[in-house]
Amino acid sequence: MDITVNILLTIATAATPLLIAAIGELVVERSGVLNLGVEGMMIMGAVGGFGASYLTGSPWIGLLAAIAMGAVFSLLFAVMTLSLATNQVATGLSLTLLGLGLSGMMGTRFVGQPGERLPNLDIPGLTSIPVIGRLLFGQDPIFYISIALTAAVMWFLFKTRTGLTLRSIGDSHTSAHALGIHVIRYRYLAVIFGGACAGLAGGHLSLVYTPQWVENMSAGRGWIALALVVFASWRPWRVLAGAYIFGAVWIGQLHAQAFGIPVPSQFLSSLPYLATVVVLVLISRNKRLTMMNTPASLGQPFVPDR
């Protein structure tokens, strides 16, 4: 029983950064913007979070710094694509490339330094309940944030007027503009929200998952988060399910490596990436589903005419 609980806990830890980054990107894409810079914003969050935690000694400050770092970095993308109407695919790619370089440079002095882990929740009486105690009341704080965030985004997108407006912008920015909606302002806020989420996801990596700074420690998770949004056909609860499936694949291959299964470790390590490809193929085979759910103006630049 204990082993099952432990495995479930590690799956949750592996799924949390994917979930947070993907939920953020989902809001961005729902507003019609395709930000391929998730990987870059995530790694910036990771280095910012670790750096702040290392310098101040408080992982909580690290957490805030990770969020701020992701948000500020995403602003760069927002200015380029929204104010200067640059190609979103190319700009997102350059955000990732810049993020990987910048984080490597900023993190040079943190390599090999011990970090402090965000403490797990510990509620006397509740956390010690057998089995469900640790699952429900004994995880790291970002886990709870990720679940709350998913619920909040679901509510925001589908139950509020502002959420409806955001989705309408994603489906037709010209119509939304004609109705007097501030397309660019909404998109700015969406992109910054996505950046903050990616930063938080990065913070989870360097403050919870492996509390240290390793270059390129995001290891493609930002890209997997992007794939998750497609996989989830832009629905928050499906992102949640997808993130946990991927978390399970990620943990599964680690356990398989630890058990010494006679398959080269590199093949097991490549499973999450191959799984992403397979999942994308399966989901895109159903053309109607993707066509119906893809925000219609996704990735198209918008220049308001006045």
């Binding site: 391929l36 760069l76 380029m80 104010s83 200067l84 109407a85 640059t86 190609n87 695919v89 190319a90 700009t91 790619l93 350059s94 955000l95 490339l97 810049l98 993020g99 990987l100 370089g101 910048l102 490597g104 440079m105 040079t108 290891a219 493609g220 890209w223 992007l226 794939a227 497609v230 080269p264 590199q266 093949f267 390590s269 490549s270 990436y273 191959l274 992403t276 490809v277 994308l280 193929v281 895109s284 085979r285 053309k287 993707t290 220049v303 005419d305 006045r306």
Partner: protein, 376 residues
């Protein structure tokens, strides 16, 4: 509040089309100076070490050519993809597969020597890269799967596959346990162009030839026209009878083959054996090269040399000033940002709208406004 407003130009500005890479480079230099100052280094000293010292001697120019060759080869292929609005961002993986497949002969059949070895290796490298690029192309045409994500995911798979090969079945038994293959024999090594002057090899010539050939293809042949039409207006392309699916394959196979050629040239020329890591991110840097070169093969040659210099400069400041060589990646990322930003100037005029929002500005548009009000 300050606000930017883009005003569409009636036609694209030829002036900014030519100037934008230079403006972008200038802005990168300014941003770089600020960065060096923040790192506590005199920007002038840093720039001298970064941009001038690495190319002040002949042998160093050869090093520049070694770094530029893969960048140009890959970027020339990518430019065709991006012109056609097809997003192959997995060139790094195709580069690696080209290196692996091209190495089959020298690693598995080291006794095979002679003048046939190299051409076969190069051919196999191109086949390897093209075959790996065919996967995202097939998935895109067959199932409509997003090629950005699949081509990128395959990069990680390729890196792990190479890692497994050189640590496992292809490891040199006499290599003292180092994760690398045997050294290629002489007939499997890409010859140097001028052995007396420096290390530059035939890879650089391949890059120049590829650039010229693709330039001819894009500007003088129907296929190039097809690429441009499908890229700017797929609908118009369909009316003209150009097949989008065939174009996806064409672009991926061409760029994959060139990336594969770059991979085997690097392995057989600059390295001489397979190692766990054979590329310092050439496949990704080439994306920057493609955009900095304005997706024009001849521009890409120049851009490739500039980006190659950022690699050399990064190594130079690391050894001379103790700054992380990641500074090269930062320069490359900034450069791409500024290039994309400056490209906006080609199609738009930028107006800064400040606090003077209430003050009418003398443009034709504002003269229309009162009339509209009257009409209501």
């Amino acid at each position: 509040m300050m606000r930017l407003e883009l005003v569409k130009r009636p036609q694209r500005s030829a002036l900014f089309s030519a100037l934008s890479p230079f403006i972008a480079f200038a802005l990168t230099i300014i941003a770089g100076a600020i960065m060096f100052a923040l790192l506590g280094v005199n920007p002038l000293t840093a720039f001298r070490i970064y941009f001038i010292e690495p190319i002040s001697q002949v042998w160093q120019l050869h090093e520049l050519a070694i770094k530029a060759a893969p960048l140009i080869l890959i970027a020339v292929g990518l430019s065709v993809c991006y012109k056609a609005n097809i997003w192959n961002i997995g060139a790094e993986g195709q580069f690696i597969l080209g290196g692996i497949v091209g190495s089959i002969i020298p690693v598995l059949f080291p006794q095979f020597e002679g003048p046939l070895v190299l051409p076969l290796m190069l051919l196999l490298g191109m086949v390897g890269g093209a075959a790996y690029a065919a996967i995202p192309a097939l998935l895109k045409t067959r199932f409509g799967t997003n090629e950005i994500l699949t081509s990128l995911m395959l990069v990680y798979v390729a890196q792990l596959f190479l890692d497994w090969l050189v640590r496992g079945p292809w490891r040199d038994p006499q290599g003292h346990g180092f994760p690398q293959t045997i050294q290629f024999n002489d007939s499997a090594v890409l010859p140097e162009l001028m052995p007396d002057a420096g290390r530059a090899n035939w890879g650089f010539v391949f890059a120049l030839v590829a650039a010229v050939l693709v330039w001819i293809l894009m500007s003088r042949m129907l296929k190039g026209f097809e690429v441009r039409v499908l890229g700017s207006s797929p609908r118009a392309g369909r009316f003209a009878g150009f097949g989008l699916n065939r174009m996806v394959f064409f672009a991926f196979l061409l760029s994959g083959a060139l990336a594969g050629l770059a991979g085997i040239s690097e392995v057989s020329g600059a390295i001489g054996q397979l190692q766990p890591v054979i590329s310092p991110g050439y496949g990704f840097t080439a994306i920057i090269v493609a955009f900095l070169g304005r997706l024009n093969p001849l521009g890409i040659v120049a851009a490739g040399l500039v980006l190659a210099l950022t690699y050399l400069g990064g190594e130079a400041v690391q050894s001379a000033l103790g700054i992380s060589d990641k500074v090269a990646r930062v320069f490359q990322g900034m450069l791409l940002f500024f290039v994309l930003g400056c490209d906006t100037l080609i199609h738009y005029r930028i107006r800064l709208i400040g606090l003077a929002l209430t003050k009418p500005q003398g443009t034709a548009k504002l003269e229309v406004a009162p009339k509209l009000k009257e009409a209501r």
